[in-house]
Symmetry: D2
Subunit: 350 residues, 4 copies
């Protein structure tokens, strides 16, 4: 019963196999190999335009490098206050960005609303030399609350950002889950809706350690090779990170895996709902948030269930009135089984 994180899962067998398949002979390092070339082509096909592609090993690296590339050091990066870049990257975007500033916006269900973005931008304190300047809008897709921005949501937010001269970065650590839910082509969800740069995650979706920074306008990527290298994020035996992404996007594996994770989350949500514990936020990806009575939490712990309670100041926002209730995050993955889900729900039921 592991619902701690999708990065607690193993490597999807197809992806590990892909690593093994390219493990023979020699290949030039640092991306000068045939597998990397092939991945670049496949990603351009997938997104229906020529894209510039930078593979890195971590999601934090992908976010920090892409944000730093889009914003000047005196730029403000606006995102949801619960976004990963805001809370869980130990200041990586600020470090890579030379001291830029992240501004956390409120928003229901983990999503920024156009109204909230407008409100933030209408404050009078933006602009040099005394104030930092709004530079990047960062959207997390799917969000940390397990919700998804619709194509229309994204387009509306991106339009506001672009009108202000900002660019739009998407933290897609769980992009696959969002695409699987939305059922729209990746191009629709990203550049056609105004996204300029996507940090496309594969690790949580089933890879070992592989993320891709995708520039939909390759001209914007000038200098990015140097930025990645001096960040220590240019992998030397590059064919092996390329092989992971290659397998991930081949024959729709990424969506197959994501659909399964999402289905497990839906099943878990339904099970909890049946026990009177409706999820506190809509379940649209592979995360379920539930407000557990203390005794249920204890019972699950005793049964060996693995998951994380959320920090206290999020709980009130989840609408809980009982002080002992525990807000918990339950994450499913490509490897979650129906048995695990059902066992968990059974323990909840007591």
């Amino acid at each position: 019963m592991n619902f701690a994180s999708d990065n607690a899962a193993a490597i999807a067998p197809q992806i590990l196999d892909a690593i093994g398949k390219v493990n023979s002979g020699s290949a030039l390092g640092y991306g000068n190999d045939a597998v990397t070339r092939q991945v670049e082509r496949k990603l351009s096909d997938l997104f229906e335009r020529d894209v510039a592609v930078f593979l890195v090993s971590t999601g934090t690296g992908a976010n920090a490098l892409s944000i730093a590339h889009l914003a000047p050091p005196w730029g403000a990066v606006l995102g949801h206050r619960d976004a990963h870049i805001m809370t869980s990257e130990c200041g990586a975007p600020e470090f890579f960005g030379g001291g830029l500033k992240l501004i956390g916006l409120a928003g229901d269900d983990g999503r920024i609303s156009p109204a909230e973005l407008k409100r933030a931008l209408e404050r009078e304190e933006w602009g040099g030399p005394h104030h930092i300047s709004p530079s990047v809008l960062s959207l997390t897709q799917a969000t940390e609350a397990g919700t998804v921005y619709s194509v229309a949501d994204t387009a509306a937010l991106a339009a506001i950002a672009h009108a202000r001269g900002m660019t739009v970065q998407m933290d897609g650590a769980r992009f696959a889950n969002a695409v699987a839910r939305l059922g729209a082509p990746p191009a629709e969800i990203t550049w056609k809706a105004g996204v300029d740069v996507l940090a496309f995650g594969a690790t949580k979706g089933g890879a070992m350690a592989a993320e891709v920074v995708i520039f939909f306008d390759p001209a914007r990527a000038a200098g990015m090779p140097e930025r990645r290298k001096r960040g220590g994020h240019l992998v030397s035996k590059h064919r092996f990170i390329a092989a992971q992404i290659d397998a991930f996007v081949t024959d729709g594996l990424w969506l197959t895996l994501a659909r399964h994770a999402n289905a497990m989350a839906d099943r878990l949500a339904a099970g909890l709902r049946a026990k009177g514990l409706a999820p506190v936020w809509p379940v649209e990806a592979n995360l379920v948030f539930a407000m557990l009575p203390a005794e249920v939490h204890k019972r699950l712990q005793a049964a060996g269930a693995s998951y994380y309670p959320m920090h206290r100041d999020t709980a009130p926002r989840a609408g809980s009135s009982r002080p002992d209730d525990v807000l918990v995050r339950l994450v499913t993955s490509f490897a979650t089984t129906t048995e695990e889900v059902d066992a968990f729900v059974a323990v909840v039921g007591g």
Copy 2:
């Protein structure tokens, strides 16, 4: 009728004279001169202990250098959300601090309360490796709202910070005004109450361009000479910046000037109150905030009064109900005259 800022004032004559008095012969640069030695002694006397002293030309430099010296790049600096470092230094602390993060706290009347500080620290999300760590508490004395932290306030806040392993920096751009109001010895207000480093401002108080970073524990200043130099903040003809501070703290000039500025603010507040426009925050230093009806604002503008309206999102906090009301900041200085104040109030009266 100039109430735009205390840095719109000129140089106090005693300070300009002091510059002229040391303007003969030669003196080694970069602080290796007799005037600098004398200032160091006087500041140690003033604060009743041996202090390490670093003179710089700007308040932003003093804040950024001191904060960067106290916090690691993965540190969080907690301060009031309206503090100068938060809103008006274009990210200087973040830049000097290698990408550290400023966390703005709410608080009535421009002051952080111990309860709010505790609440912020009790969130569960602090600490490595994923989260930044609370490192510095920055208190603005006097605050941007024109209020003052009492000695007890400061001690209570500093105790919470120290208990958490944090250090306490004080942005004292208007420290003179606070001391003049509190009537307590500078030592009581600072290190005896738990302040570790003070950015002691003289520019707003009457100097040309002179601020001092004061380390109450000189051992903590190791590396600060290098930090100042590589920040471009080591003035070469150093005797002239030293002469400014020397004059400022000699014979209590700094307090004489600050008392006048404060008295002018009090007079202005009384005048406004008499016209039914009570200041929105307590007037404890040299700043008066008033919610002006639109017609009064227009009349003042027409009469040539100089002052700044505040940004919109502060207004609601000031409790205004009429949408056309304008929240304005009125700043007095050592150079403000009773005639200016009375003329302003007269125009307000219509």
Copy 3:
């Protein structure tokens, strides 16, 4: 005939197997797993003391993080002018170190001599506030020239550095090759000789993407978890990077692989020598540098041999008198075969 780089080699089968073996079930991310614990123990055993261990995916990351951790932003890092950190990391140490400075020292055969280090330190321009301060000595073991520092060399250099208050970092991207050649215990070559922090490389030695920053004094590692995280270098599915290092150091695999690579270099050197092309620097690890007549270079290219010519300004140092000669670097690896070596030598022979 691939002699381009040891990172053009594949993954050693034992290491790929090890990844596969831990690929089942779930494990907490970010190093909170059993494999990581085991690696920490094995590395402490290997180095004969409790060490603090930080796994990362790239050698540039390992070097930059460790150097930045040891030097203040106003520190100077002294190393050989041809060292990887000096020439081939696109400024990563400078970026991670907040603008620190690398100082390249001359030295025969890729090695810094104690005399050269002393000479550099005796210059009068060190020290604050105007000058940067010598902070870190970085030794590359094995060097970029394919030579090795003896235990006595390392101890002599480290003693000079420590006497000056500096720390000693070792770039051990090819540490295995050096240990295999020296035949001394890793502890003798590192901390017993004065090395404070080792960037212990496994990637060039046979791993997929795995390097370890090892602090011989764990107390010195305070803050390093945050530094790694905000650098984007904390791998989420950590068991898989741990498994690589685990396999690498188990049953002496790392030395077995390195001995093979070294033996191939020796065979190549002997072959070239027999053809009248003695290596220009001593062959002590897995790199052979030869000055090829232009026609030999052309013949090798035509035969499909893969290797890199060196940049022009190194050639004169190699003592070549003929302008058309090409200085080339030939790198062997765990995967190099005697057939490849012999075929190469045969083409050289014409």
Copy 4:
């Protein structure tokens, strides 16, 4: 007999007077005042084109801000190895530039030659992703050796830099001395010869603390206001720094002062030459370098002469054969008197 530095001199009386003259009434801070506007116009007139102007208090600030603005963090800044930015700013350009790298070039008489610049650029190791990219050529005018780049020198060097896509920054801490010597219009010496940005110094020339970063193409200055502010280099009571520059460039004061300083250096050089101690480098500005026999050095010290010996590794370059000889730097200023010079020479004569 003070020849320690031109920043050991006082403030030229005309400049101190100018500060006093604007010291009445109020003026908006941060450059929004009439004196600043006037200085901008005068500098545009002086340089015969519309320039963008940024006043700061220190030469290190002016250099670091301008270089950081021109180079990306992965840029290389090429300059003479004895330039102030290389040796005496404690890494300020590296800090402001996010970890960029300064590359010191050799060159006779403190000047880079076109041949040396070409040689450096022809190395094969430039360029991403592994290597940093040449971005800025920094020329010091007058040089640290007291020599001057002719207009033709500057044009030749700038042409090489521009052909490589680099920009040209000029450290003009002693620009006045160079212009006074060259007798050419400032425009000829700077932008007409290919200089893109000039750090125009006034402090060493007679101001209290005032330097100007001048962008000859104002479009290139986008973002510079923010950069200056977040560096803490935007002076609040801006009229007083503006008044210094205004006086400096009015009625040719800067050149009058510089001509005097240069004449004093010429007189000193002639006096030394007459005593058999010809300066080791050509005397073209206000610096004289002489190789003093130990007994002469002692006699001067005993007589109270103030000057700095140079660091040891420069001495051999100066061609000295006697181990006890001391290479000394003698700096004249607008305040140096013929009596001081003659007294110094008399003591040398014994």
